[in-house]
């Protein structure tokens, strides 16, 4: 994806972990995590029209595809930033995919996962590391 030239300031909350495929992970105590796409990804995709998510109970490995995100402009696969079992999906995205654009870290979350091994996130980027990565 090309660098953003708009004047928008994109935020990367410091309590989250980020991966280079543009997903974020919020570890919420123990091995439970919420996963979605970053503000950079949402901004680059533009108007999100459709998010295809896995089924609850599905077990997926690190870097395995968990879904598809589609916008007017393009379509991209979504990848697991760490392996685990899907415990919830954001049903609201079925009728309100624009939540990804409006609030990617909040109401625009995608899946909740029981992580197999939190250590899989040790190579994930910090907010600063991810910001540097997308600025390049």
């Amino acid at each position: 994806m090309a660098g953003a030239e708009g004047s928008k300031v994109l935020s990367y909350p410091s309590e989250l972990k980020y991966v280079k495929t543009h997903e974020y992970v919020r570890v919420e105590g123990g091995n439970l995590a919420t996963i979605g796409v970053t503000a950079f990804a949402a901004d680059q995709l533009g108007d999100v029209t459709f998010v295809e998510l896995p089924k609850v109970g599905q077990k997926l490995k690190l870097e395995e595809k968990f879904g598809v995100i589609e916008s007017v402009k393009s379509v991209s696969d979504l990848f697991m930033p760490a392996g685990g079992e899907i415990t919830a999906i954001n049903d609201r995205l079925a009728s309100e995919p624009e939540l990804v654009n409006l609030d990617c870290y909040g109401d625009g979350w995608m899946i909740k996962v029981k992580l197999d091994n939190v250590d899989e996130l040790k190579d994930a980027l910090t907010a600063d590391g991810y910001r540097d990565f997308v600025v390049d």
């Binding site: 090309a2 459709f50 598809v68 589609e70 007017v72 654009n101």
Partner: protein
């Protein structure tokens, strides 16, 4: 992003200050969107939007032989422009029936103005130059570099331009052409566009382009105007069932196959591409362009396979969300037998068939003007 070699319109810095995301389009650094393609699409359908389309090419054809020359080069009938200040949509067609480009021809007081696609300027120029020698007294002039072009589109476009230019704007019919001044800036304008809405394409000297752009945005505020990028231009033209060169038209596709038969006048006399198209019509088409309403939420995109009873029969040439109509839409080339209105096909989207119904063109048609 490497932008060093890209050409820029006089509005490049104005776009950046409007927050545009710029992309390489046919060698030009152009705004693809400002805030959101959906918002820009909607503002054109409901209010008014302004697009910079200065990358498009403008050729002026003059001389005693200009009429005969243009008539020979295009598939539509130039005789329809019996008065000056009128325009028509047409194509340059090759002797084998493939399409060189599609364009609008304006008949002005003393010349013809041809507005062509940015991606084809050089090819079109060479095509015209190659055939010019058959005609006496024809002058060909590439005015692209000294012409900027803004498209003002939407139900409020007429009201806005009327405020700036005067009552005369309202009297210009569809595909009419006029001249005037907006805030002291000399402009000329066709009541044409590429969105399916009423509106104008406004020609202006590049030196005045930014001033005109700012004037339109400022005075258009009360009408709800927004700057719109090439992203919305594409979704708007697709919803309006208009072809895009490189998608629904190319050197392997005739205007007839693309569903543009209404603009091809095979009985007007000799012109380039006529014999091939006459033969296509007599023998039957190998492929035709169908409009598909696609079920589900996944979007059909260019290159996706079209299936009939599970077997591939064609390919999507353009596809997107129909932002105003509210469902996924596509144009696709399929055999004529698969293009019957109401017929059921499928588009293969990520290995899964999405039901698609052949519908009449266009997907969206604006209501009556009054």
């Amino acid at each position: 992003m490497t932008t060093a070699q890209l050409k820029e319109t006089p509005l490049a810095s104005a776009h950046r200050s409007c927050g545009a995301r710029m992309v390489d389009f046919a060698g030009w650094n152009m705004p693809v969107q400002y805030k959101s393609i959906m918002a820009e699409h909607t503002v054109v359908r409901t209010k008014v939007g302004v697009f910079d389309v200065s990358h498009m090419g403008e050729f002026i054809v003059k001389g005693a032989g200009a009429f005969d020359f243009v008539q020979y080069m295009i598939a539509n009938d130039l005789k329809k422009l019996s008065n000056p200040n009128t325009a028509l949509y047409t194509q340059f067609v090759m002797p084998d029936g493939g399409t060189v480009d599609d364009l609008i021809v304006y008949r002005r007081e003393s010349d013809f103005l041809l507005v062509v696609n940015a991606s084809n300027i050089e090819k079109d120029w060479n095509w015209l130059a190659k055939h010019k020698s058959r005609f006496n007294d024809v002058t060909l002039d590439d005015a692209s570099d000294r012409t900027s072009l803004l498209a003002l589109q939407g139900p409020k476009a007429v009201a806005l331009l009327k405020e700036l230019v005067g009552e005369q704007v309202e009297r210009i019919a569809g595909f009419g052409y006029g001249e005037g001044k907006a805030g002291g800036i000399s402009i000329s304008f066709g009541r044409t566009g590429y969105t399916g809405e009423d509106g104008f394409e406004i020609f202006v000297n590049p030196a005045d382009a930014e001033k005109l752009w700012n004037l339109l945005l400022e005075r258009g505020q009360k009408f709800g105007i927004e700057p719109c990028g090439l992203g919305a231009r594409d979704t708007l033209r697709l919803e309006a069932g208009m072809p895009l060169y490189g998608h629904e038209l190319d050197e392997q596709t005739s205007p007839l196959e693309s569903g543009l038969g209404w603009s091809v006048k095979l009985d007007k006399g000799d012109f380039l591409g006529r014999d091939a198209m006459q033969k296509q019509k007599a023998d039957g088409f190998a492929k035709v362009c169908a409009c598909l309403k696609v079920e589900g939420k996944a979007l059909p995109r260019q290159g996706y396979s079209v299936l009939k009873d599970g077997s591939p029969v064609g390919q999507v040439s353009s596809g997107s969300q129909g932002i105003f109509v509210g469902y996924p839409i596509a144009m696709a080339f399929v055999p004529p037998a698969c293009a019957t209105i109401g017929g059921v096909l499928a588009v293969e989207i990520r290995n899964s068939p999405a039901l698609a119904t052949v519908v009449k063109r266009p997907f969206y048609k604006r209501g009556p003007l009054v």
